[in-house]
C-alpha cells in the first residue's frame, strides 16, 4: 500500500470520477484498495465470481440480484469506474436546497436511490414491476419458508396497495408514491467513516 497520492495517480480519470460521484479522495483510495482486494486475479476488472466470493453477500437472500445490479446490460466485467459509480448511489444525500436545477440529478439523490431500488424489482427493465417479477423477488427472499399460495397472496396484496392506475403492475411513479414516507436516505445509504 502506498501513500494516498500514489494510489490516486494509478486511477485514470480520477478527477472526473470524484466529481461525478462526490466521493472524497480518501474514499476513492479506500474503494480502490477494496476493488483490488476483490480482484484476486489482478486483471483490473471484477467478474460476478469475485463478488460471489464475499461470504456475507453469498448468504444474502437477494445477493444474486445485487451482483446483477453491478453487471447490468449483459456486461461480463466491471471496471473500477463503474464499481464506484454504482456504490455512489448509496452515499448519503447532501443538502439539495441550493442545488442548481440545471445540473443533472446527483447520483445519490432520493430519486436516484429509488430508481436504483426499482431496478432491483424490475428485472426486464420495462419500467413496471409486474406480478411475476414481484413474485420472483418474494421467492428469493423467503424461498422454502412459505408456501406458494402465501407468496401469491402477498404479491396480490402488495400490488393492490400500490397500483393506482389498475394495470396490475407497479410503475416507477406508483413505487415512488408508495414509499413516500420512508426515509430513503437513511435506509439506502452507507455511511462511510471519515
Amino acid at each position: 500500500m502506498g501513500s494516498t497520492n500514489s494510489t490516486l495517480s494509478k486511477i485514470p480519470n480520477v478527477e472526473e470520477l470524484m466529481r461525478e460521484t462526490g466521493f472524497s479522495p480518501a474514499h476513492i483510495v479506500r474503494l480502490y484498495d477494496r476493488f483490488e482486494s476483490l480482484d484476486k486475479e489482478k486483471t483490473g476488472h471484477l467478474r460476478p465470481e469475485d463478488f460471489g466470493a464475499i461470504n456475507r453477500l453469498a448468504t444474502n437472500p437477494i445477493g444474486d440480484r445485487i451482483i446483477g445490479a453491478f453487471f447490468s446490460a449483459g456486461q461480463e466485467t466491471l471496471d473500477f469506474h463503474s464499481f464506484v459509480k454504482i456504490l455512489a448511489h448509496f452515499r448519503p444525500a447532501e443538502n439539495h436546497r441550493l442545488r442548481d436545477p440545471s445540473l443533472p440529478e446527483p447520483v445519490n439523490s432520493r430519486t436516484s436511490k429509488l430508481k436504483f431500488a426499482f431496478q432491483l424489482y424490475d428485472l426486464d427493465k420495462d419500467g413496471k414491476i409486474s406480478r411475476a417479477e414481484l413474485l420472483q423477488v418474494l421467492r428469493s427472499m423467503m424461498e422454502t419458508q412459505v408456501t406458494e399460495e402465501q407468496l401469491e397472496s402477498i404479491a396480490d396484496r402488495t400490488i393492490q396497495e400500490a397500483d393506482l392506475d389498475r394495470d396490475d403492475a407497479i410503475s416507477f411513479e406508483e413505487f415512488r408514491k408508495s414509499l413516500d414516507r420512508v426515509n430513503i436516505d437513511h435506509k439506502m445509504s452507507i455511511r462511510f467513516l471519515r
Binding site: M1, S37, L57, A58, T144, Q145, Q150, I154, I190, L193
Partner: protein, 460 residues
C-alpha cells in the same frame, strides 16, 4: 594495518565475539542482559513522539486529504437486528394495515446489507494485516501518511538505516547460527542411546536454538501464568498468526511438532529434529487420511512421557485481531488440552504472514527488518472434553477461552473461508428470519421450528 584483508578479519573477529558474548551466550542460558528492553523503551518513546508529531501536522493542515486509518473497517454499520430494521422500514404505512406483511421497502434492508458487505466485510478483513491507528515509522505500514515535517522524515530515514544496515545483518547471522546449531546439535544428540541424559540434552539443545532464533528476530516475549504450562502427554493448542509462533512458544518449553514433511532445507531440519526426540511428521499422502492422522497423534499422546504436541487448530494464519473457527480434528484425539493465547504488539512489526501476498523467504526478511517482535503469551488452565459435549462444541469452548484471554475477537467463521465459500445454511437462516417478519411464526411452512436454532444468529 595497511592490508585491508587483515583489517576485515579483525573486524569480523570483533563482530563475532561481540555477538557470542553479548547475545548468544546469554540466550543459550536463558537470561537477558536487558539490552532489548532498553531498546524497546527507546522505541516506544520515539514512536510516541512520531504519533504526536503526525497528529499535530494534521491539525495544522486540515486541507490535506488524509484518510484516517480505520482499524475496524470502512463503514458505520447499523446495529439493529433484522426485525428492528423491518419494523422501522414499515412504519410509514397506515395503521389499517397490520404490522407484519410484506412491504416494497423490505428489500432495502437486504440491499443495504449486501452493499455494505461489498464495500467491506469482517471476514476478508481478517486475512489482511491490521491497520494501525498511527504510523510506526515503517514504510510498509505507510498507508496514508503524507510528508509532515523534516524531523519525522529524518527519523524515518535513520530508522531505515538502523534496521537494514545494523539490525538486519545481526539478525541474519543469529538466525543462521541458530538453525545450524539446531541441525548439528540434534544430530549429535541423536547418536546417544535412548535414556534420560538424551532427553535432557535434547531439550537443552532445542531450547538453546530457539532462544538464539528468537534473538534473531529481536523478540521480546512475556509469558503469563506459567503455572499452566503444557505438560508431557498433553496437547497444546494456540491461535495462529505466523510460522514464528513456533519459535515463540518453544522458547519456554519443549514441544513435539506436528506437520507435513517437506523437502529441502526444511526437510533437513525436520529429519534431524526427529533424531533427538519424537516429533510427528506426516507424509503428504498420510495427511489426507484423517483416521491415520488421529491415530498417530493419539499414540503419541498416550505415551505419557512424550512431549506435548503443538497444534494450531485454525489451520491457517489469521491476522491476530480475531480467532477463527477451530477444526475439531485436534479435539477428537483425547487427552488434556492446554490452550495458549498469543498476541503480538502491532506497533513494532506486523507478524501476520499473508501467504497469498508473500512467500516464506520474503516474509522472514520482513520480520527481520521490523523494529522488533513484542509478544504476550498466556497459558490457560487445562481443559478436557466434558460429558455430552461433542468435539465441535469443545473446540468452540476452547476458542472462546483463548479469544477472551488474548483480547481477540471470537469469530465463528471458518479459517478455510480464505479459500472456500460459505454454506447454504447461513442463507436459509436469513430467509427464515425474514419470513417471520412477513408472515409471523405460526404461518410459516416448516412446522418444526426450534427456538434455539434461530438464536444461533448469523455469525458476524
Amino acid at each position: 594495518m595497511e592490508d585491508p584483508w587483515s583489517l576485515a578479519v579483525v573486524l569480523l573477529q570483533v563482530w563475532l565475539s561481540v555477538m557470542i558474548g553479548l547475545i548468544m551466550l546469554p540466550a543459550m542460558f536463558g537470561f537477558s542482559l536487558g539490552v532489548t528492553s532498553v531498546y524497546i523503551q527507546i522505541l516506544v518513546k520515539i514512536l510516541e513522539w512520531a504519533t504526536l508529531r503526525i497528529q499535530r501536522g494534521h491539525r495544522e493542515r486540515p486541507s490535506l486529504p488524509v484518510p484516517a486509518p480505520l482499524p475496524n473497517g470502512l463503514i458505520q454499520r447499523e446495529g439493529g437486528s433484522m426485525e428492528q430494521e423491518m419494523g422501522e422500514l414499515r412504519r410509514y404505512r397506515s395503521q389499517s394495515i397490520s404490522r407484519g406483511e410484506f412491504a416494497l421497502s423490505d428489500s432495502f434492508y437486504f440491499y443495504r446489507k449486501g452493499l455494505e458487505s461489498i464495500v467491506d466485510d469482517q471476514v476478508t478483513q481478517r486475512f489482511s494485516s491490521e491497520e494501525l491507528v498511527s504510523w510506526n515509522l515503517l514504510t510498509r505500514t505507510n498507508h496514508n501518511f503524507h510528508y509532515i515535517s523534516l524531523r519525522l522524515t529524518v527519523t524515518w530515514g535513520l530508522g531505515v538505516v538502523v534496521r537494514y544496515c545494523f539490525l538486519f545483518p545481526l539478525r541474519i547471522t543469529l538466525a543462521i547460527i541458530g538453525l545450524s546449531w539446531l541441525v548439528i546439535g540434534t544430530t549429535l544428540v541423536g547418536f546417544l542411546p535412548k535414556n534420560r541424559v538424551k532427553t535432557w540434552l535434547s531439550e537443552l539443545v532445542h531450547l538453546m536454538c530457539y532462544r538464539i532464533c528468537a534473538r534473531g528476530l529481536s523478540a521480546t516475549i512475556q509469558y503469563h501464568n506459567k503455572e499452566n504450562k503444557p505438560q508431557k502427554g498433553g496437547i497444546c493448542v494456540a491461535n495462529h498468526t505466523s510460522p514464528i509462533d513456533i519459535v515463540i512458544l518453544a522458547n519456554d518449553g519443549c514441544y513435539a511438532m506436528v506437520g507435513q514433511s517437506h523437502g529441502g532445507l526444511m526437510g533437513v531440519i525436520q529429519r534431524s529434529m526427529v533424531r533427538s526426540c519424537p516429533h510427528v511428521w506426516f507424509e503428504r499422502s498420510e495427511m489426507r487420511d484423517r483416521n491415520a492422522v488421529t491415530s498417530r497423534l493419539r499414540a503419541h499422546v498416550a505415551a505419557k512421557i512424550n512431549l506435548p504436541i503443538l497444534i494450531f487448530p485454525e489451520g491457517t494464519c489469521i491476522n491476530n485481531t480475531s480467532v477463527m473457527m477451530f477444526k475439531k480434528g485436534s479435539f477428537e484425539i483425547g487427552g488434556t488440552i492446554h490452550p495458549v493465547a498469543i498476541k503480538y504488539d502491532p506497533r513494532f512489526g506486523d507478524a501476520f504472514w499473508n501467504s497469498a501476498k508473500y512467500n516464506m523467504v520474503s516474509y522472514l526478511l520482513r520480520m527481520m527488518t521490523s523494529w522488533a517482535i513484542v509478544v504476550n503469551v498466556w497459558y490457560l488452565p487445562p481443559m478436557t472434553r466434558q460429558e455430552g459435549e461433542d468435539a465441535a462444541q469443545f473446540a468452540n469452548r476452547v476458542k472462546s477461552a483463548i479469544a477472551h484471554q488474548g483480547g481477540l475477537l471470537d469469530m465463528a467463521w471458518d479459517g478455510s473461508l480464505k479459500r472456500d465459500k460459505v454454506k447454504e445454511e447461513f442463507k436459509e437462516q436469513q430467509q427464515k428470519l425474514y419470513s417471520i417478519t412477513v408472515v409471523g411464526r405460526k404461518r410459516r411452512k416448516s412446522s418444526t421450528y426450534h427456538a434455539d436454532s434461530l438464536k444461533t444468529v448469523i455469525p458476524e
